[in-house]
């Protein structure tokens, strides 16, 4: 849901970058290091817990940066820049209201239940809180979505690499797939996480020069807003301008659907129940580090918006009618266009490396969460149970290979039927919403019965899909844009899931209280009472302070964009 690309990425022809040997040297060094991390992490894999969850032993700064990096995939970077070129400063909503509150909620409220119950995945929590039906449904939905999203990432990478470097699509798909396959199969989650942290710094080194030079070219922030106000109107550089209910704005959403649909339902669904994110926190070394994982990630998230929004705005200011048919550019071209225009060889190599790294990290996050859910939640619980631990490590490696091959297949499929992928991406943006409603009701309402989980999940998913694909697409209700429809569908799915859960709970037997210890708000499990590690009492490591600090900072960031 965090990536508002209008379907798969398309880049204009004629964006070929003037890369030379220097840029390719920089890229080659990165690929060598990525593989090296895989080989070096291999010796740390002894148990299935090492392979799937890094042995629950990583420090908070690493899991925190991996948490943000798993989200900062290239589809997100190019997509958010495109979003800014199209809708303007509304993009800040995806960060400040559409991410920070949910990340803080995950860290402060939900993490004690996730980490303290020692579950190894998000579906496993549903197994403990509800029943096998809810568990199996959520596991299968997640596994399916993860592979398809990994495939979409791979396909997007192929398009970008073809446009920028001139490699044929299949070469890019096979090369990137092979590298991701190699390093995850070797080192498991540890090497996925280590590479994500590395990618975080490389992509910053790529985006900061692009943003700085882009701003210089348009005459600073003042020059930028001046130009955009003249061409796009005054609302284009504000966060809330034109979002009154009944007003018309390009986003097709008003302040209420932004706050409820994006800020609450979609955002909380994505950040708190998407296992590709939550897995990073579950690999932390203790409860305090797990809580701090999304909180540490929140701070870079607040500021990264400037590094993707400003290039998008600059592109919109520099080229008349950027993104529309006459300009020769698509919205997605914003960052590649600035790379081509502004970066000399050297930094250009860093930028290309950063983009490729971000694509691979986005894919790897999905593959590493897929293999965990498939092995731990589907295979070891329903297919082959009770084998020795080494068997599941081996199976995890095997399913990684199968998962990557399936993603490669999806990517090739996408390259022939690209509009199908646009549909699928929208489809999966709805899966997290019913997951979130099931979690929130299950965690805060003891009475929610075991059966309610499955039916809530099903009802929410089906409702969101019907609202989007039938009511909106067939024009039964009128919403001006896909984004606006997305927000409304999310709200509908949330409400339907909640109503069905309450109704089913009232007619079925509640779960006995002793089976809910540590799973429902107000109860505790033995895992939650572990004493803080030495040093964790330091004020700057206190989760509450970190979390509320991020909320206040995000709110303060709104001020200059609101008046």
């Amino acid at each position: 849901m965090q990536t508002p690309t209008e379907g798969p990425l398309y880049l204009a022809a004629g964006l070929r970058l003037p890369t030379n040997w220097l840029d390719y040297t920089i890229l080659a060094i990165y690929f060598v290091v990525v593989l090296g991390i895989g080989f070096a992490a291999r010796r740390s894999v002894k148990t299935s817990l090492d392979f799937f969850l890094s042995g629950r032993s990583l420090p908070a700064w690493i899991t925190g940066l991996a948490f943000i990096s798993a989200n900062l995939a290239a589809t997100e970077i190019l997509g958010m820049a495109a979003n800014s070129a199209q809708y303007g400063a509304y993009t800040v909503h995806w960060y400040w209201i559409g991410a920070i509150p949910a990340m803080v909620f995950l860290g402060l409220v939900m993490m004690p239940f996730y980490y303290g119950s020692k579950v190894r995945s998000v579906p496993e929590f549903l197994l403990l809180r509800f029943d096998r039906a809810a568990h199996l449904l959520s596991s299968i939905l997640f596994a399916f979505a993860a592979i398809l999203i990994a495939g979409v990432n791979l396909y997007a990478l192929a398009i970008v690499v073809e446009a920028l470097l001139g490699w044929p699509q299949w070469v890019a798909i096979v090369v990137a797939g092979a590298f991701v396959l190699a390093y995850i199969t070797l080192g498991g989650l540890s090497s996925a996480i280590y590479n994500e942290v590395l990618q975080f710094f490389v992509i910053l080194a790529a985006l900061i020069p692009i943003t700085a030079l882009g701003l210089k070219k348009v005459g600073g922030w003042d020059g930028l807003t001046h130009k955009l106000t003249a061409t796009h109107g005054a609302n284009f550089t504000t966060a809330w301008g034109g979002t009154g209910i009944g007003h018309v704005n390009p986003l097709g959403a008003n302040w209420l659907t932004i706050v409820l649909g994006l800020g609450f339902v979609l955002s909380f669904g994505y950040w708190t129940t998407n296992f590709a994110e939550v897995q990073r926190a579950l690999s932390a070394k203790n409860l305090s580090a797990a809580q701090r994982t999304p909180l540490i990630a929140a701070y870079p998230k607040i500021f990264i918006v400037f590094l993707v929004m400003i290039p998008g705005l600059v592109a919109a200011a520099l080229i008349p009618k950027f993104g529309t048919a006459g300009s020769g550019y698509q919205y997605n071209d914003a960052i590649p266009y600035l790379m081509q225009e502004l970066l000399p060889n050297g930094v250009l190599g860093i930028a290309v490396t950063g983009l490729l790294a971000a694509f691979m990290a986005g894919m790897a996050a999905n593959v590493s969460s897929f293999n965990t859910v498939f092995t731990n939640d589907i295979w070891s619980k329903y297919v082959v149970r009770g084998r020795e631990d080494a068997y599941y490590v081996g199976f995890g490696r095997l399913i990684t290979v199968i998962g990557v091959l399936a993603s490669i297949g999806t990517a090739f499929l996408a390259s022939s039927f690209s509009n199908i992928m646009a549909y699928l991406q929208t489809l999966f943006s709805f899966f997290n919403v019913p997951m979130f409603v099931v979690f929130i009701v299950g965690m805060f309402w003891k009475r929610a019965s075991a059966k309610a989980g499955f039916w809530g999940l099903l009802a929410g998913t089906v409702t969101a899909m019907i609202n989007y694909f039938v009511f909106y697409k067939k024009g039964i209700i009128s919403i001006p844009s896909d984004q606006g429809a997305n927000f409304v569908s999310a709200i509908a799915g949330f409400v339907a899931g909640a109503v069905v859960m309450v109704a089913v709970s009232l007619f079925t037997r509640p779960k006995p209280a002793e089976e809910l210890q540590g799973l429902v708000y107000g109860t505790r499990s033995p895992g939650m009472s572990e004493p803080p590690a030495p040093g964790d009492e330091a004020w700057y490591r206190r989760p509450a302070l970190l979390g509320w600090g991020a909320v206040v900072l995000a709110a303060a960031c709104y001020v200059p964009f609101s008046f």
């Binding site: 990165y30 042995g55 629950r56 032993s57 225009e341 631990d389 499990s525």
Partner: protein, 115 residues
């Protein structure tokens, strides 16, 4: 070992929180990540020092046309220096607070090393 303990007594498949707690605690005791994983700070530091040197040299030797392209800014030089400083920061952090030695293998499962 860790897994047959629950399967042989639960034919009806009831998977409770105790099962998860016990299984994961046991695996945590045998986990090798904490003891054997290398320190990431060394990799980040090394890569960024290398990139920093390469890009800084590119900046020093840049032609006027490269500088003109970047709006008159020697962007390679600035980015190179920035990356070099980041690399040095990670290596210095590693030097000042080195990786703690791994705990003896028979340590209590919940006892993890500090950072």
């Amino acid at each position: 070992m860790s897994d047959n303990s629950h399967s042989d007594r639960h034919e009806g498949f009831h998977y409770s929180e105790e099962d998860v707690q016990r299984e994961v605690t046991e695996l945590e005791g045998k986990s090798a990540t904490a003891a054997r994983i290398f320190d990431l700070r060394r990799i980040i530091g090394g890569l960024f020092v290398l990139y920093g040197v390469i890009v800084t040299i590119a900046g020093i030797t840049d032609s006027q046309s490269a500088i003109d392209k970047a709006q008159g800014v020697n962007i390679n030089l600035w980015t190179g220096i920035g990356m070099l400083l980041l690399g040095i920061f990670f290596l210095a952090w590693l030097k000042l607070r080195p990786t703690p030695p791994p705990l003896p293998p028979v340590g209590l499962p919940e006892e993890k090393q500090g950072d």
